[in-house]
Amino acid sequence: MLISEREQLRANIERRVIDFGNNRSALIPVIQEVQQKYGHVSEYVMQVLADVLHIHPVEVYGVASFYSFIGHKPKGRFIIRLCRTLPCEMKGKERVARQLENDLGIHFGETTDDGNFTLEWANCLGMCDQGPALLVNERIYTQVTPQSVHDILEECREVFGVHTTLQEKEMSCELPTSAK
């Protein structure tokens, strides 16, 4: 990262900490914003947060490492999280998992060489009546079949190069009418 970029990032973090009340409770919301923007929370970011909040960097690391949706290592642009909990298991998550591994050429916990996809397990995603369910970044897919895995990956590939978290696209699940 260029020095100017670092300074920019530091200034942004300082501003957001103030926006969130300028105390320790700002820590997680700011970490989440960094995570969403950069895909991980680097050592540099942790140091800045520690400086701004007047706490030890290890405190920041302790928090960041506690939560499974926050990571300190870079991951793929698309993080696929397949639900492994019982109702989804009963609806065939194992076959979906196999197909994801086949189509991406990686195992769970790994990232593709091109840095595009990371494959992870998740616990219940709150879609148990429509399993198997998976999240791609923030977007939820339900009633996934081994066959539809391919379509989901293609959808991700289509938006490469475009800045998107897949949020603004139409959702495949039951959602508030006004959010559709």
Binding site: N23, R24, S25, A26, L27, I28, P29, Q32, L53, G62, V63, F66, Y67, S68, F69, I70, R84, T85, L86, P87, E89, M90, A122, N123, C124, L125, G126, M127, C128, D129, Q130, G131, L135, E138, R139, I140, Q167, M171, E174, L175, P176, S178, A179
Partner: protein
């Protein structure tokens, strides 16, 4: 088939804002008395009387108090809060605002699980609309001196943060590790101020009780578990989705409604609940018999009960915050035991030891996660010994 009939639910018959308007004509004590009369108990699982929680917070003379809506819904098999957030969010905000009026709070926080980030923009818009309509903000609905606003905070993929003290730790920018209780959040909550933490569904029933009256709610259900409840139904049944039933319904009746009468067992209450065998389907779902936050997982005749136990135990090993030894080490030991059973290598003597280890974990863990993590496995040992012992490896 997915069958969540939104239009038939009680929540659909209550006009957004109506309950709040009515409550603003009442004094703080009158609101709490009304909730007491209805018998409403927490819908998040533990079933603590809502009026008592609110009264304790109301009695404090701290100037800063908080209303927190627990939308962390992480219990496996539960999705009714997501459903309410999607269809009846206005009623949740009404309930939170009525709660604020009752205890004298000025700030509200909705702690939304990270997995539901896709709902965030929708909820943010709705909050903005409510501000514009004077349902939030200063002098709400022209009520002089009643100021209240709601902000959304996101979880980040930790089940234990649904536990109310861990949730507060997380809001304060800490690791989501449960605290010792007491002190309770009603005394020492967010930033040390009195805080009521209630489940999404609990808040949603409040405007219904205000508009329909406490007797309406109180006359449904059993003596100690009044009113209606939403259930999240999944697994081996004909109909899946969110269903509204009166408290006290028997498992048998419930299974008939969802085309699941052939089930050999029902996991009631998610991973931390108990596994009820078919022989006990005439038992009632209510706080005095089978308590549940609403998760009903129907287990069909062909399912392997050890697989059920294994899946849930993996969940707890993964989600334990690691603070206390019984939960951190004990659950891992139980999981090893399940693997021994799966391989047909567990003696009756060792099974008994596993059982008593499970009981120790229940007794000695610091928070509800560890206290309930052995439930499913223990009830499977108790009810399905014949199925789980003496396995011949595949």
């Amino acid at each position: 088939m997915r069958t969540s009939d939104v239009s038939k639910m009680t929540f659909s018959s209550v006009e957004p804002g109506a309950g709040l308007r009515q409550a603003l004509k009442m004094a703080s004590e009158e609101i709490i008395d009304l909730i007491a009369e209805s018998g409403l108990k927490g819908r998040g699982g533990a079933g603590f009387p809502t009026d008592i929680k609110w009264k304790l917070a109301a009695d404090s003379d701290d100037e800063l108090k908080y209303v927190v809506c627990n939308a962390d819904e992480g219990e496996p098999g539960t999705f009714k809060d997501r459903f309410i957030l999607s269809h009846f969010a206005d009623l949740i905000f009404d309930g939170m605002t009525i709660g604020a009026r009752a205890i004298g709070a000025t700030k509200g926080i909705i702690y939304l699980r990270g997995e539901y980030t896709y709902l965030r923009a929708f909820l943010t818009d709705l909050i903005a609309q409510r501000r514009a309509g004077n349902l939030l903000g200063k002098n709400i609905l022209k009520t002089e001196g009643f100021n209240f606003d709601i902000e959304i905070r996101m979880g980040a993929g930790a089940y234990v943060c649904g536990e109310e003290t861990a949730l507060i730790e997380s809001l304060e920018g800490q690791r989501g590790e449960p605290r010792n209780r007491p002190p309770f959040p009603v005394n020492t909550g967010f930033m040390g101020h009195p805080t009521i933490v209630n489940n999404v569904e609990t808040f949603t029933w409040v405007p219904c009780i205000v508009t329909k009256g406490a007797p309406w709610f109180h006359d449904i259900g059993t003596e100690k578990s009044t009113g209606l409840k939403l259930f999240s139904v999944s697994g081996d049944c004909g109909k899946h989705g969110v269903f509204e039933f009166p408290m006290g319904i028997t498992l048998k009746e419930l299974l008939e409604e969802v085309d699941g009468s052939h089930a050999k067992a029902v996991q009631a209450g998610g991973a931390s609940g108990r596994c009820i065998p078919a022989a006990e389907f005439d038992r009632n779902i209510c706080f005095e018999d089978i308590p549940t936050g609403g998760s009903i997982i129907v287990i069909g005749p062909d399912r392997d009960m050890l697989n059920v136990a294994e899946n849930f135990m993996e969940f707890f090993v993964d989600e334990s915050c690691g603070q206390c030894t019984p939960c951190r080490e004990g659950n891992a030991k139980l999981l090893e035991g399940i693997h021994l059973l799966q391989n047909g290598r567990c003696s009756m003597q060792y099974l008994r030891e596993l059982h008593s280890l499970g009981e120790s974990i229940q007794l000695t863990s610091k928070c509800g996660l560890g206290q309930s993590s052995p439930n499913a496995f223990l009830s499977i040992i108790d009810n399905f010994k014949d199925e789980i012992m003496g396995r011949i490896q595949p």
